[in-house]
């Protein structure tokens, strides 16, 4: 938790320092620095950096044009998400039915967000600009050299190279991660669903109603509360089982392969790696057909009499074993199939760790007369657990979001018979993420999907903060300096 606090501290500290510099620049700057508050190029002009002055002026004009020519159309409607419904109006001039000048709720939401981001970027550049103008003033006053434009540009390959490197990746992350995150966050507080689909209909803010639906139980037609509890429980159970079975299985398998009595360890390793090198959509879709109701596994079980025996003891009521099509059976099968998928990965990791155990401890333990079993229990195992332990948390989070395994194994195969689950488009084997996917792709229920998305994010955040320190790896970074 200390690291978390330190991380937030450093973040706000940096912001605070930035504003202090700005205040300082405005207070102590000359008339041109102050003029830069209005015309961003003023400071540069005074120091004869004309190209920079022109560029920053173009930027300023562009942002102003963006604000009044584009952003204001949307941002002013942000509080209502639009009021004019789409209607078909007969135009006397063209003699045709045309749409009126309607509001598109989603575009209003999205473009307002884009505008906010642009304004935040502008604010940072603007404040920085003042600080920079003041720095130039100080340089000029002390008679030092002021960079020409060419020299300034060269700085971007040298002292400011990080800006050159980071600009494009950061823009990519803002457009494809930050803005989508906020869109999701905002949609969770609207009534954006199939009855409120832009452009033909408007949607609007509804406060916490979606979350109330998600957490309240009761009701027969809208059963999100009922389904949510069950899906969440299965998501967590699945994540626990999937994480621990593959983790333990992987370590055991790697111990088996890397034991000194095992011949050809490379050969055995390769056999297992082949199974994960095949893309999941091929291998899982295949396994799904292998265990289909009329699939080959069922033929085999019927031939050896297993199906008949299970029917006799009352475990199944059908003429086949519903490996992936009945609750209970499907849950167990999914975990088992996931062992098949996940163990080779964990085996690879554990092998890497086992091969790099520091030998000094083992040597000295041997000299002290420890038996191989004692060495294993007191040195090998603790070391392996210590190194790989933290990755358990990351694996757990990954499994909560393990869309592929569940979707590829059960989509189109498993249909729920529980009417209450079906009313909210959920299935017993759904994870929160697959439920979210069905809600958006098949039922256009964006409001509930977004609310579920936020819940998933919160769950993942709690678990990841636990391993925060390790993810940042701040402790290792200076080791080689």
């Amino acid at each position: 938790m200390e690291q978390v606090k330190a991380a937030f501290g450093s973040f706000f500290g940096a912001i605070g320092g930035f504003f202090k510099n700005f205040g300082n620049a405005v207070a102590k700057g000359d008339i041109f620095v102050k003029l830069s508050l209005l015309w961003m190029g003023a400071g540069y002009c005074r120091r004869k950096q004309f190209i920079k002055a022109i560029l920053i002026t173009i930027f300023e004009v562009a942002v102003i044009a963006f604000t009044f020519g584009f952003a204001m159309d949307y941002v002013t409607k942000f509080s209502t998400l639009g009021t004019v419904q789409q209607e078909s109006v007969f135009n006397i001039v063209t003699m045709k039915n045309e749409f009126n000048d309607y509001d598109h709720s989603f575009l209003i939401l999205l473009m307002s967000l884009v505008s906010f981001v642009v304004w935040i970027i502008f604010a940072v550049v603007y404040l920085n600009n003042i600080i920079h103008a003041y720095e130039l003033q100080k340089l000029a006053e002390s008679g030092k050299h002021i960079n020409t434009f060419r020299e300034d540009m060269r700085e971007f390959l040298n002292r400011k190279f990080h800006i050159t490197l980071l600009t494009l990746p950061v823009i990519g992350i803002i457009i494809f991660t930050v803005i989508p995150f906020f869109v999701l966050f905002l949609v969770a507080f609207t009534n954006y669903d199939q009855q409120h689909m832009p452009p033909s209909a408007l949607f609007t803010w509804v406060g916490f109603r979606n979350f109330r639906d998600l957490f309240s139980s009761g009701g027969l037609t809208v059963t999100f509360g009922y389904a949510f509890v069950r899906v969440l429980a299965w998501t967590l159970i699945w994540a626990v089982f999937a994480t621990f079975t593959t983790y333990i299985g992987g370590i055991l398998l790697s111990l088996l392969i890397n034991h000194k009595n095992t011949k050809l360890p490379r050969f055995w390793r390769t056999l297992f790696i082949i199974t994960i090198a095949v893309p999941q959509f091929v291998s899982l879709l295949l396994v799904r057909n292998f265990f289909a109701n009329n699939g080959i596994a069922n033929t085999f079980c019927a031939n050896i009499g297993l199906t008949g025996w299970l029917r006799d003891i009352g475990a199944i009521s059908t003429s086949y074993i519903p490996f992936l099509s009945a609750p209970g059976w499907a849950h167990v099968m999914i975990v088992i199939i996931n062992i098949w998928v996940g163990v080779p990965y964990q085996m690879l990791i554990a092998t890497g760790v086992l091969m790099n155990i520091p030998t000094e401890q083992m040597e000295s333990a041997k000299i002290d007369g420890a038996t191989p079993r004692q060495i294993f229990v007191h040195i090998t195992m603790p070391y392996v657990l210590f190194i790989t332990g933290p990755s358990l948390v990351t694996d757990f989070v990954k499994n909560i979001n393990n869309f592929n395994v569940i979707f590829l194994l059960t989509n189109g195969v498993f249909t729920t018979t529980n009417q209450l689950m079906a009313n909210s488009q959920a299935k017993e084997v759904d994870l929160l993420v697959t439920w979210l996917y069905t809600l958006t792709q098949d039922y256009y229920n964006y409001k509930m999907a977004s609310a579920i998305g936020i819940i998933v994010f919160l769950i993942c955040a709690v678990f990841t903060l636990v391993s925060f320190n390790r993810l940042i790896q701040g402790d290792r970074e200076e080791a080689y300096r």
Partner: protein, 281 residues
């Protein structure tokens, strides 16, 4: 001595048994791809009659459902483009955060960790709408952007590697008058071959393995524009499975071969990446 032999035999029997179980689906994939019966083979494990026709149909007789050569080409193009962009992004961010020191470095890295918490998968809906606003849905460029635009967040493994390059090397180059940019591609990049191989291969593989985003963005149903994964998934549709199952298997074998080869090269670096570089070797 006798005890050791028993131990050895038991170990190998157990391993052989496990390997057998693990390989059943793979073997089934392989043998079914040679079956003459086009639907699911439900009675026997091995096909009754063997043929190469499935491969021939898949590669040379594309119809409206199975357009494997097209899909392969599409996936290959998307994979190449997104591989170039995301490798560049990852290495750029890794160099900036590892080798340079600037004021916003730590805060930016922390924001990165928090953003990474947010599974890209959840942003799907919003990303779809953004791409639709930009008119990039049902378009390979949209797909490339989805795979590569946020790739900068996956810089941690490469950063861990750059951290191990001795700072003295860079300082020496700096004293000789090299700029940061020169140091980046004349000193650091040539020394980072393993991590570059890892980054390039893993970002190249992503479009081949991905299914969700491709299905969402190329959803208009123009099968010639699909990637391999949606194409093969579609072959198993309830109405098609009885005519295309063996071709699905043949397609599965064909994509698996190049991917497995790349994967085997990459797995050496995979271990180090996941254990956060705590392992050297």
């Amino acid at each position: 001595m006798k005890k050791k032999y028993i131990d050895m035999i038991l170990r190998h029997v157990l391993l052989a048994f496990l390997a057998f179980i693990w390989l059943i689906p793979i073997v089934w994939l392989f043998v079914t791809s040679f079956s003459t019966y086009p639907g699911r083979n439900t009675s026997t494990f091995f096909p009754e009659h063997w043929t190469l026709n499935n491969y021939k149909n898949l590669l040379f007789a594309a119809d409206s459902v199975a357009q494997f050569p097209n899909w392969f080409k599409n996936t290959f193009i998307v994979a190449c483009c997104s591989c170039i962009i995301s490798s560049a992004f990852v290495l750029m961010v890794a160099y900036a955060t590892s080798c340079m020191r600037f004021k916003m470095r730590k805060p930016l890295m922390n924001i990165g960790v928090i953003l990474n918490l947010f599974p890209g998968f959840l942003s799907m809906i919003a990303v779809y709408f953004i791409l639709r606003t930009l008119n990039l849905t049902n378009n390979h460029w949209g797909l490339v952007l989805v795979y590569s635009a946020s790739s900068g967040l996956g810089y941690l493994i490469a950063k861990g590697f750059f951290d191990t390059i001795p700072a003295s090397l860079r300082e020496a180059a700096y004293l000789d008058g090299a700029s940061e940019a020169t140091i980046f591609y004349k000193v650091v990049v040539p020394m980072s071959q393993p991590i570059i191989v890892y980054t390039v291969i893993s970002s190249f593989l992503a479009p081949w393995m991905d299914f969700v985003f491709a299905k969402m963005i190329l959803n208009a149903g123009i099968s010639s524009k699909w990637t391999v994964s949606i194409g093969l998934f579609n072959m198993l549709d309830k109405s098609l499975i009885n005519t295309y199952f063996t071709q699905f298997c043949a397609g599965g074998v064909l994509v698996s071969i190049p991917i497995s080869a790349l994967f085997v090269i990459m797995q050496k670096f995979y271990v180090e990446g996941v254990t956060g570089g705590s392992v050297k070797g």
